[in-house]
Amino acid sequence: MPLSSQASALALDVRNLRFRWTPEQPLLCFPDIQLAAGEHLFIHGPSGTGKSTFLSLLAGMLSPDSGTIQMLGNDIHQARAGARDRFRADHVGVIFQQFNLVPYLTAEANVTLPCRLSARRRAATVTSPTDEAHRLLAALTIPADHWHRKVTRLSIGQQQRVAAARALIGSPELILADEPTSALDSDNRDRFLDLLLTLAEERNSSVLFVSHDRTLAPHFHHQIALQGTSS
């Protein structure tokens, strides 16, 4: 089945998701999620609750044992691996805890990377990917003289904001964020979260934010918790 975006559908619709790494390991059960386009979800996930596994399933990089994941009305696990990679490039932005960037590219080149992988996201940028990247970097308060520097010369906070710009470029429908603030101090953390959510709202992108830090939850429209193994 080819994957395509359908405007009317939910950004994300997860039902009865189950996964087991090996038969000896316990079955991981994940909560059902229905997330409307443009809404933000906080997922409380302390370590050991299968946070990384959940994100891998959502990103289409792992296949569930049972249950369905519908993204923009498409059951992503019905598609072949190659189509899932393309779908991710077209519709999903990602931010990790750290090491978000390709070390040998400049900040600007890191931000425009999704537009080079996806024609759809390139088309969604205003005037050009470079212009859009400059706007995002400026909005995320990265000084202009840092844009053409190697990302390894940026501070951790700046690197995370460059990663946010990369996730936002081309207005993907969904942004998966995996503890992006855990390496930041509290001032930086709040500023990062504000900027990310504001910019995502402007672009009508839904943010799915996983963290162990419950104090961040009030920034989001919805919140749920991962249970890890159950029943």
Binding site: M61, G82, F87, R88, V94, P103, L117
Partner: protein, 424 residues
Amino acid sequence: MKAALALSLASSSLWHRRKVLALVCLTLTLSVTLLLGIQYLRTEVKQSFTSTISDTDLIIGARSGQLNLLLYTVFHIGNATNNIRWSTFKKLEQDEHIRWLIPISLGDSYKGYRVVATDSRMLTHFRYGQGQPLTVAKGQWFDGIFDVVAGAGVARALGHQVGDSIVLSHGGGQTSFSNHEQTPFTVTGILAPTGTPVDQAVYISLDGMEAMHVGWSSGVAIPGRTLTPDKAEGRDFTPHAITAAFAGLEQKILTFRVQRAINESAAEPLSAILPGVALSDLWRLMGQFERALIGITGFVVVTSLIGLIAVLLTLQAQRAHEIAVLRAIGASPSLMAALYVIECVVLALLACVLAVALGTLAILALSPWILAHYGLHIPLRPLNLNEWVLLTSVPATALLVALAPAFSTWRQSRSLGFGDTGEK
């Protein structure tokens, strides 16, 4: 689009790791230079070797083996088994199939260089390379009995000028105890360099050869019976025998028939050989060595490539984060694999370009020195087909060996999870 992305990522990545990779690239460059250089030299030396003598259809000497006759007449190595009677040579001159003959008489030496006794026919008929004749660079071809013309190599090595007086030695060898002191020769000319054994000999007349041996018996001068230059004037020095002759035929198509006729000559046992055939036989003999050399060099290149792969594999561990990022933003596993292949091939291509540049510089710099010291002309020329094949085999081999890390990256990145670096 993806190919462009892969290329730009690979080039950025190579530039990012340039300090480590420069060293690997240098190793590869040196080994490719060695490989290409040996192949180039091999071609040039073979070219130079097989064009030692040209236009000569037959070399005629006393009955002996093909290689022996070739070695002592053309390369001045070894000695003649026997002589040809002058009367036999005269008879050959009458042969209607033979257009020209160059008589040569060997046996003496000058400070380790051969003395070749011949006549003006050497200058008119002898050809080397692509049919080039001998030219006298300074002075003129010998005219008098005690005149000598020096080959370019001899004149250069011993610093001889036109007008120098030299004493030839009896017999071959570097040092001879019996010199033709009573009959000194005068240098009248110096030949232009040819890059062939012609440069490594001195040339005198057949008369001069006879004249300096008057009064010699069993390799020793008998006091009082030898000639002095003033006594020699007016005497007849027609030789009794010569060592060999180069022959040019009226019709090339008759070469084998004339050869057969000479080999079966009733007058005296003779051998006639085709210099081209003998030269390629000799080259085949030496070819084993140069083939082994090129084989070894091939292994050097493969070793460098394996070194390159080892470095790339070491870097692979450092690239886990980068691959996790690229995978998560939707890059396919084959793009990851392509990065390795492209990086490896680009390095190999770079090494090839550098090797060609290095080789060109080396030839430009060393070619005059090689000509001066070894009499070998190594010109700068475009690469031939063999060398192109050899050169393109380097990136092709790089492509093959890069498949190993590429495949392992492809397989690993297929099973990577979100933000997963595969370090578990």
